[in-house]
Amino acid sequence: MINKFFKIRESVDIYTLPLKDKKYKIQFYRINTREKKSIEVDKIVLNILIFLDGSKTLKEIAKITNADIASIKKLINFLFQHGFLIEVQKDNVTEERFKRQISFFNDLIPNSNGEEVQKKLSSKKVVIFGVGSVGGDIAILLSRAGIKNFLLIDYKKTRKSDIVRHLYVNNKNLGIYKTDALKEYIQKINKKINVLCINKKLIPNSNLKEFIPEDTDIVINCADEPYIGHTSLKIGRYLWDKKIPLYIAGGFDAHSMSTGELIVPNKTPCIDCYQNSFRKALKDWKPSYNTEQEKKALIDFTEQHNDIENIIIGGAGSVAQCSLFSASYAVMKIIFHLIGLDITKESKRGEYLINEGIFTWVDFTKEECDICRRK
């Protein structure tokens, strides 16, 4: 041990307070999670802490600070036990591109090795159904985070009106398949990313075998045609048996800033649990909408225009920041899941209230369901 390099995790602040008899109170404070731990020590420990920055071996630190090896070892064990310390591998060159993210992983998961976490994340294979504004933002964020294998599914082509919310669409890539436009975009972020595209629409009798490879690590559903609930039910039931996790993203009609939800086979409620609890909650709520429109009364035009026939004026509205919010929340949960971090709110869905600045939460854990036999 004495010839190894160690450093205090970057996210740990250390505060000191002199006490009587040359003792010091030391408070360790994790800045990302706001957790604290206090101990009382001699002055010599303060000096050791200052030198624990990964540049010197314990032996060297002992020499500089005049500390005995046994008490250094004791301190090191304490710091390890509480996850304040990390060993620095001198021969393991951190990938330059991800060093700040690796540092974040080191902070986030006590006693982990951020480089290993990054490696694990990079090896994952992701399938995305629907690469509109939310699906596209998710793909971009995952690409930046280091995911290298994507399968993108969408039958639509990029249009001028997509520019408003799709971060990968601009005036130079209009009129091509969305999957191809997104592929080009994420390969500019990282040319080592592998992308397969399927330009087909998911329909009720689609064979999901043709869409989802067996070695997929997670499927992300952003296909909201005809309705996100329908596509999720089909995909969710298929994946439950295949033991592949599903993330149902938010960001759609009436859920423009929703967190979405993660479904992990044999762990979380299944897709039927979710849908049954909605059905129950909404059983007396059968809304109607004023969607029939005569476009000429509302829009200033003279000639016939087919393009605007499907547009509902005064209908679902959203701006790019809404989809980006839903996407970033989803990506956080997806990455945490892929690196094996347990997260709370696993079976909850949050809806961010645009004019109040808070979430309201719906809880799904209490459902009993025959399909996944949860109790």
């Binding site: 993210q101 009364a297 209230l353």
Partner: protein, 365 residues
């Protein structure tokens, strides 16, 4: 007056979910997720409201349904104020609908007339936004605002793109490494909309920055953290207060990774100094006498989804400010922290301090 009122044309928004049961009409705004409940003793209420398709006048609808005109008028006015019915005083231009109907639909929830929606779209176009720092937060905000329809940007950054930026910063690609960030941003924004004007300032934010700064701006967004967020916040706060310009202190990076930065409307909401006073009180009570141990070689972790949550919420307040919808902003007068373990917000109210030397004395406008 009545004769003019009754000739007005209204439309019930398609995004409103209507349920009528036990004499209670529930109106749920699906875009903003707000609920309205009205006690109404009229069984045909939904069909009546469905007659508001933007074609018939109030008078025509009252005749068609055989309802008292004045009663209908007062209902219409009430639902109009509550953003359920929108007055059609102007038809939308075709091009606007083709390219921006999602934004129009979003704005309709904040407007009582269609002309107001068009005004707000124009307001986005005409205003000038100053963004300082185009890194993990600023680069996302610039992209999103350009897609909202903002056409005038002043961007400030003296950094060049590095490989280690790519995991969290938007708009930059591998091929950009070594180029000035703001050159890349200008290029990308013009690809979104070629009528966008970009003024580039290749500088860091220092105390001297505003001495020769000679541009008008309607909103300042600070995403600069060098040498520290506190340092840059003070500079922006002082300039914004002095010139009465709304400003947003972006969170989401470095030591503020989990913070949603605050929005300041000068003399209306808590200013940077109100925050300082409150946070000093708060920190003092927590760690009395404690001193931070200084350590070298520290590199704080960074994680794009956290920065982006912060960027998306800041840019939502920015959107509201640029559309003159200040009363709807939500990141003002509070410190908002995203708690990673709980995946939820932790909010501490920081009201405008009536004794604050910066914003309380005689400056009220």
């Amino acid at each position: 007056m009545i004769s003019v009122e009754e000739n007005k044309i209204f439309r019930l928004k398609a995004s409103i979910a209507l349920v009528y049961k036990n004499k209670i009409l529930n109106l749920f705004k699906t875009n903003t997720r707000e609920n309205l409940f009205l006690e109404i003793n009229y069984d045909n209420i939904i069909n009546l409201l469905f007659d508001f398709k933007g074609k018939l006048t109030i008078k025509e609808i009252s005749e068609k349904n055989n309802i008292d005109k004045d009663t209908l008028l007062s209902l219409v006015n009430y639902l109009n104020k509550k953003n359920i019915l929108i007055e059609i005083d102007k038809k939308y231009p075709l091009k606007l609908i083709e390219e921006k109907y999602r934004i129009i639909n979003f704005l309709e929830d904040f407007c009582t007339k269609t002309s107001e929606v068009i005004e707000k779209i124009n307001s986005l176009k005409n205003k000038q936004v100053l963004i300082i720092g185009l890194g993990a937060v600023g680069s996302w905000i610039a992209d999103v605002l350009a897609r909202n329809g903002v056409e005038n940007f002043i961007i400030v950054d003296d950094d060049k793109v590095e490989l280690s930026n790519l995991h969290r910063q938007n708009l930059y690609f591998e091929e950009d490494i070594g180029r000035y960030k703001i050159d890349c941003v200008e290029e990308r924004l013009k690809e979104i909309n070629d009528t966008i004007n970009v003024i580039k300032i290749y500088k860091k934010l220092t105390k001297e920055f505003f001495i020769d700064f000679d541009y008008e701006c309607d909103l300042i967004i600070n995403c600069a953290d060098y040498p520290s967020v506190d340092y840059t916040t003070k500079i922006i706060g002082e300039y914004g207060m002095k010139n009465n310009i709304p400003h947003i202190i972006g969170g989401g990076y470095n030591l503020h990774l989990t913070l949603i930065g605050q929005t300041v409307l000068p003399y209306k909401t808590a200013c940077h100094n109100c925050f300082d006073i409150k946070l000093q009180e708060f920190n003092a009570s927590e760690i009395i006498g404690l001193k931070k141990l200084q350590r070298k070689n520290r590199k704080i972790g960074s994680f794009a989804p956290l920065s982006v949550i912060s960027a998306s919420l800041s840019s939502l307040d920015a959107f509201k400010i640029l559309c003159n919808l200040e009363e709807y902003i939500v990141n003002n007068s509070k410190r908002i922290e995203f708690r990673i373990r709980e995946m939820d917000f932790d909010i501490m109210e920081i009201p405008k301090n009536s004794e604050c030397p910066v914003c309380s004395k005689g400056n009220i406008i």
